[in-house]
Amino acid sequence: MELQLADGNDNESREAQAKRQRMRSIAIAVALAALVALFYAATIVRMGGNVADRAL
């Protein structure tokens, strides 16, 4: 009886686990994209007008 219950919950649990894993993957992707955007923005800010001012 207990084993059956465990099996019954298994599919649901597997689905829930897959969903959590998907959400984690999305969160990691968003964090990496944010990090890229962060370094890009900081680089532009730090360079400031120096790019336009450089000798050609």
């Binding site: 465990a6 829930a16 959590r20 984690r24 990090l35 962060l38 900081a42 800010v45």
Partner: protein
């Protein structure tokens, strides 16, 4: 197979799930502690002289917050055994079986190095070094060394929670000055009465977990005496921004009134020593202490913003 694993994990009293959610990782970062860190660091940044591009300032604040979250995760990794024994911490992700200790260690380590390097590279290395010191102090000095060994754990360990305004100040100026040391001192002296008030009504929890908090080792009477002494010192320290000239009249009046209430609550804790009323007094002081610190930094922040707007 997974049914067997689930049955086993349930048998050990852990939650059935083997896949941690994003929310579990957020919990590892102690979001409530993080919010106070963000607030005090922001105050340090706004109170500091000079200016920084808003994007760089935003990155600085974000990295300080992530660094604080990282130390929270590393603390939960190391303290998982005692967290499981205390009612206040038993629902944390590791004791609940939602996140493994290894996952918390990896998460905390990546965030620690990531936040320090990013702050150093994009803002400045003084702030980066101070953030590294904060994380290292919290993990190695407080969590690993002091917490399980001495009732002075939170007195010395309180420094870790006091660094954020100093890191914020350093992010803006690239240096450490007396004003940032004063903000550090306010949080440093505030920490003992805040934590000992909690320890008074959670004494059994700490005793069961074997954490030598002051009430467990020296008794509740001595703890009440120490709370009162530190409360007096804290109110005096809270007046330092006025003396050093980076706080105005609003801060002077409001912090004095709020300090008087703090002292009154500390006296109540000292006077009421038995039964439910004693727990109630300690609880009241604990909750008020959070409001008090928030108020002090809100006043400093508000006055600094006003000064910047007028200038």
């Amino acid at each position: 197979m997974s049914g067997t694993i689930e049955a086993e994990t349930n048998a050990t009293g852990l939650a059935g799930s083997l896949e941690p959610s994003v929310g579990d990782f957020v919990q590892l970062m102690k979001p409530r502690v993080m919010s106070l860190v963000i607030f005090t660091a922001l105050t340090g940044m706004v109170a500091a002289p000079g200016s920084l591009h808003p994007i760089l300032a935003g990155i600085g604040l974000l990295m300080i917050a992530i660094g604080a979250g990282a130390s929270g995760a590393l603390n939960m990794w190391y303290d998982a055994d005692i967290d499981a024994q205390m009612a206040r911490t038993a629902a944390r992700p590791i004791p609940r079986g939602r996140v493994t200790a290894d996952e918390a260690l990896t998460f905390g380590t990546i965030l620690s190095f990531g936040s320090v390097l990013t702050l150093g590279l994009l803002v400045n290395w003084v702030a980066g070094a101070l953030l590294a010191l904060t994380i290292a102090f919290y993990l190695f000095i407080y969590t690993m060394w002091l917490k399980r060994r001495t009732p002075q754990n939170i007195v010395i360990g309180g420094a870790a929670g006091a660094f954020p305004p100093m890191v914020g100040w350093a992010a803006m100026t690239g240096s450490v000055s007396i004003e940032s040391v004063v903000m550090f001192m306010i949080i440093f002296i505030w920490t003992p009465p805040h934590f000992w008030a909690l320890a008074l009504y959670r004494c059994r929890d700490y005793e069961r977990a074997g954490v030598p908090m002051l009430p467990v080792v020296a008794g509740t009477d001595e703890t009440r005496r120490q709370i009162l002494i530190y409360s007096v010192l804290m109110v005096i320290t809270a007046a330092a921004p006025i003396y050093f000239g980076f706080a105005g009249m609003t801060y002077a009046v409001a912090s004095t009134l709020a300090g008087a209430v703090f002292l009154w609550l500390a006296v109540k804790v000292w006077q009421i020593r038995e039964g439910r009323e004693a727990d109630k007094a300690a609880r009241r002081l604990f909750h008020y202490s959070i409001f008090y610190l928030f108020l002090l930094f809100a006043l400093l922040l508000g006055e600094s913003i006003a000064a910047r707007l007028i200038a």
